[in-house]
Symmetry: C2
Subunit: 475 residues, 2 copies
């Protein structure tokens, strides 16, 4: 759990040693803290031709209280910003003579109007001018239109090209900077706030290189987020279940959901009852000691939740039993598939049939980078986690009629008791092989889940978001 | 171009040194050679419940003349194989006492009938028993149904889980073994032969960890491949254009397409005329010295091909101009986007409008692993190559009415003059960070393109196939 290399190179002596040896210097990531402002500093705005999302963006920037500057490519921004009562100015590229330049916290580029490959040049112009002005732990957000929603192949091509730009920016920006791409469906503009907030916030510290689609919310955005909506307590009055909540990532999820106002019901196996009780007691939540793999458990969960129902269900519980397939026992295959995948299916079926999970609810599943890329010695685990991706993609259209969203997070290397037990060389490789040159924290996974669980994320469904610091490893 | 480490560890002394130091030992891959049998040895067949593709599989196995053995999971295989006049027997797991066991060349598993996560256990049973029997440079092929075509979320989930199993098998099998997953749409069973042949053949030596979908061919499979079809000359009587054909991967593509019977028209820039002429003269092809970026070129290509038309167009030409975006010139951005992406669009528009590319034709584009994952210092190149992916996905539905397919290959680390100039450490990392522990050859890319260009590949469109030895790097 303790990354001593990261600590060392961020000490005065270590920084000198690392510099002289040419070693990577991972940043201490700026993460969300309740006692520090979530949003501050300057966002620099750029745009391609005919940008369509600046109005929605100005809305969000005004709400979160950041200052803005407009790059020359985003001439439309200044009058828009003025209309939204936003502090705004012009972005000034660095003076090469002095190198002096105001640092910005975020670069946001509206690429929604780009219709041809030649027009991609507007991204070059903006990031060429602005990338050096971005502060460490800053944010790059590119906004586009889903390629599959485009009117013709040329536009589809240009919008799809944004993935290559955004991922490359993440890989070259380094310094703890996260770069992500948000595709907003035509008509879904009003649904971007929860997602844009997340990607501009320190909550998304370890989420980079991701592509997220915001669709028109099934049944429309049910709630409106006016001035009286408390964005620090988006889950106030809601009930959220987290499986595997006793320790590690599950406990972090329970923590974050509770901090955002939810009453958390934590589930874990009976042998972990003490830890589960301790975790939930702290949060004023409810502990349910149940083995999710037991055949009677789905009905027991539904019964336990029946009176009050549930708004958010997080399928986090999972196990590994690693062996190459030739050496793996049938029991190891079976238990991993059953606990990590089949149990989720049985529980959802029971909750959906009984109506325990309310209409407009949220299901969030924990997949894994192994489910995307496969992994040596993890045929069982990778099958279960790839199956989770299939579950999310396959169920999303079925659940849309009930305005329920289902999404997955796929953690990369996260610092837990599990990874602390890995052999040193493997652990070091896992930590460094990503654009952040470090492992993530359980809270990084938890914050990502909280964004997906947010009532404002109604237009995000059927998706898989990696929490991996833009790991090199993929499929 | 010369991987001296691979040569060394495959020498008697080097093998001893590598073993004693625990160094990786990349296999010398078994590649296609015209003077060696393409298919020989034994294929072991396994199946999940209610397999639906064994009949189509038996057809292909009979055509290619491999012997088969049936694992206990594939009880249906024996009568089926007998009906197809196939040599067949029972697969016998290794005797743990002696370790003796017949080696097999390929493991093929029919997972098409799997409808639930619990039924995935049949994959465990087969690969647990059989993986050790697979010879080096062997093949693993898993056959399934496209998740998005499944009747319900449980089936979708289970079919999607196959990706995790197949990719993990590729990562743990090593020894030059390739593992791939083929999703066959219901009704597309008769269209699997060209694809199954490719993935069982030494032609696919460096293609691993891939997922390919075979759909019902637009307009049906136009040609039937009866006993008189010459599978060694599938492109006989066809005309194929290759851009960037003077050298490297382009020359290899020209070579392979010519070897498969096509008359090849090679295009390259005027400054490469000598090399282009030499390449094409050897193949009895036609050299066209044209700069694909010039505005008049599309019309010139269409005019040059007009009389006879063209059946296959391979967009291979591409350039890199690497720099971090802050240091990149506008000209470097523009030329990379224009040559690698916009020129393809202009040429296709001209050929499609003029009808030069015949109905039922094939377009194959060269993308890159950088277009999938992004890359430091390659915002321009990654944008162009991600755009190529968008082009393929966006144009496929438009071209279906004319029975034209469009696909992309995405090379990983390929041994060329370009990679030979890379700094040593970067080159070594690129070579080893994949399941084959080595770079690919230009011919590996060319063979993959030839499969996509095959008249039997009518059901494969809108897809991106990596030629990367299952590189660790992905998105």
């Amino acid at each position: 759990m303790n990354d001593s290399y990261l600590n060392f190179v961020n000490s005065p002596l270590g920084a000198r040693v690392a510099r002289s040896l040419g070693l990577p210097k991972p940043e201490v990531l700026r993460r969300y803290r309740a006692d520090a402002p979530e949003f501050d500093g300057i966002v620099a705005v750029g745009a391609g031709p005919a940008p369509q999302l600046l109005d929605a963006l100005a809305d969000v920037v005004a709400h979160i209280g950041m200052t803005s500057v407009a790059h020359v490519s985003a001439g439309l921004w200044v009058p828009l910003a003025n209309r939204h009562g936003l502090m705004t100015g012009r972005f000034e590229p660095a003076d090469p003579a002095t190198g002096s330049q105001a640092r910005v916290r975020a670069l946001v580029f509206d690429a929604s109007g780009i219709e041809s490959s030649a027009q991609l040049e507007s991204l070059y112009t903006f990031f060429h001018d602005a990338l050096r002005s971005l502060d460490k732990c800053g944010r790059i957000v590119v906004l586009g239109r889903p390629p599959e929603a485009c009117a013709n192949p040329r536009q589809w091509t240009a919008q799809r090209a944004l993935e290559g730009v955004t991922r490359s920016l993440g890989k070259e920006a380094r310094r703890g900077i996260a770069a992500n791409l948000i595709y907003v469906s035509p008509g879904a503009e009003s649904g971007i706030e929860s997602t844009l907030r997340f990607f501009l916030s320190p909550r998304s510290a370890y989420v980079s290189g991701q592509v997220v689609r915001i669709g028109a919310a099934p049944g429309g955005i049910a709630q409106h987020f006016g001035q009286d909506f408390d964005w620090t307590q988006p889950l106030a009055g809601q009930r959220a279940v987290v499986t595997g909540a006793a320790r590690g990532i599950g406990a972090a999820i329970a923590n974050v959901l509770a901090a955002q106002g939810a009453h958390v019901i934590g589930i874990d196996i009976p042998s972990a009852t003490d830890a589960l009780d301790a975790t939930l007691r702290q949060l004023g939540g409810t502990a349910l000691a149940l083995d999710i793999a037991a055949p009677e458990t789905p009905a027991q969960i539904a019964a336990a939740l029946d009176e009050l129902g549930v708004d958010v269900f997080v399928h986090n519980a999972g196990i590994t039993k690693d062996k190459t397939i030739a050496k793996m026992t049938e029991a190891a295959w079976r238990s991993v598939i059953d606990i990590n995948l089949s149990a989720q299916e049985r529980i959802d079926d029971a909750l959906l049939e009984a109506g325990t999970l309310r209409d407009g609810g949220r299901i969030v599943c924990v997949s894994s980078i192994s489910g995307i890329a496969g992994n040596m010695g993890q045929t069982n685990y990778a099958a279960s986690k790839a199956g989770v991706i299939g579950r999310v993609q396959g169920m999303a259209p079925y659940l849309a009629a009930r305005r329920i969203t289902i999404n997955a997070v796929a953690p990369g290397f996260i610092e837990t008791q599990m990874t602390a037990k890995m052999p040193l060389a493997l652990r070091e490789a896992g930590r460094r092989m990503n654009s952040m040159s470090q492992g993530g924290q359980p809270a990084d996974v938890a914050q990502t889940i909280a964004w997906l669980a947010h009532p404002g994320s109604a237009g995000v469904t059927g998706q898989v978001v990696r929490v991996c610091g833009q790991s090199l490893i993929g499929a």
